[in-house]
Amino acid sequence: MNIAFTDPHLMKSPRSLRSLFQHSFVLTKRSVLGRLRQPAIIAPSFIFPLFFAALGSASFHKLAEDPYFTKNIAASFLNYAIAGAVLQGVLFASTSAAADLAIDIEQGFFERLLASPISRTSIVLGRLAGSMVVAMFQVTIFLMIFIAAGARIKSGPFGFLGLVIGGALLSLAMSAIMAGLAIKSGSSEVVQSTFPLLFVLMFLSSAFFPRHYMSGWYRTVADWNPISHIVEGFQGFINQELDFSQFAKAWLLPLAVAIVSIFFALRSLSKRLAAS
């Protein structure tokens, strides 16, 4: 796929902001199509979160008999499980998106991009934007499945939209961290091997069970884990009326992580460029 040469328009001014957007758009399209054309890779990010949510709601439904749970957390365990499923799906998808970038490096496509008159930044931004688009698509499908299964979003369409945007921002943050690692290491194996770490972070949070019912050191870890706060922001969109704290947790926290991690990814890129 020779992006720069197939579209002469892109070759006019590679350094301009306009060309940055154009190049990023083309690479975003490539990234999204690449994901959609590999159903075997994208399927686990749908199957496992939905399976765990279904399992949780069938196993822990008695929690909804606790007045504290229904008053302060969620109307049902299915409603509670939505945010965990979204988080899990986005983390799965972000890891495999970054692994795709590492595969580009391993297979030499990255070098061909560098040899073409294309904005360097768009190589990273295109991948990150692609990841965000896939996340928005994924969260929308998840929510439609959950609503069909009986879940209700208390804050209505705004909560729906809030969660879709929150999912996209989280995807941006995680993809940027993983893209930085992919560029730094140039190995898809390294990127994939970080997934167990994300898995640990996810379990040591309130993604699958409310913090209120945890105790001891596990509760302390969950309290400090930023994933707990992000997922509780997501839960707020579904189970409570809209308020600022949900936006702060579900949007601003991932956005802050995204800013730092994009900086890390671009820095990794410039180091790789300097080395080559």
């Binding site: 399976f51 399992l55 699958f208 069970f209």
Partner: protein, 268 residues
Amino acid sequence: MSSSPISSSIETGLHAAQPMDVIKVLVQRSMMRVRRMPSAFIPSLIMPVFQLIAFSGAFGFAVTSLGIKNALDWYVPLNAIQGASFGAVGVSFGLINDMQTGFFDRILLAPTRRWVMVAAPLAAAIVRCIVPVAFVIIVGFLGGMNTPGGLLTLVCLAISAIGIGLVSCAFALGLTFRLQNLGAATLTQFGIFFTIFLSTSQVPISAMTGWLRSVARINPMTNVLRLARQGFLGDVTWEGSWGGLLAIAVLVLLSCWYAMTGIKKFDQ
């Protein structure tokens, strides 16, 4: 591989070797692979322990609110069985490697019975699954799990874990002989994962609702988990044991039949 002492001992000594000798040599070879490639075995050791900590920490309230003294009493048997099955499936990764390098074809040319080619990986699987089970039990004891059933608690757990390890390994072998690629081991892992979680893995049947309750009722893993857990929750009784023992026996027979028909297909 031709200069390997094990492969040469198989090639030169098989005409005189008894099946048990061949099985012993192949088990030793499998253990040597674990020693030389610990990175392939360590995840099956760490993951059950991590899951034990994660499940008992996150879902502890859900089981203790049902009258279970310590969440570890509920989750140690689950994670021991899970660790055993994933450890045992690791044997099929070795088999795929042997198929890709041509070593397995050479073993097949040797004058040995076909059932030995299934029995040897199964024996190796038993050895491999003991380690994660022991690791989970040690962590459980350190965490303060209860064993009111006494020594029989550990016997029931060992039977359940090794039984499911054997089933997992035999099923993985059957699938590997048919597919001859890494997808066989991955598919087996998916199968084990879903079978375990669609049973009483998280909570007892009485606490379940809807579709999961119906699935868990007919899932043989529910009986196996009952066998494994009974000593942690109370006394070990025949009533709590026979269902699990029967389930393990039937599953072992079926999966071994699947592995044997698989190697016949591979031969053809």
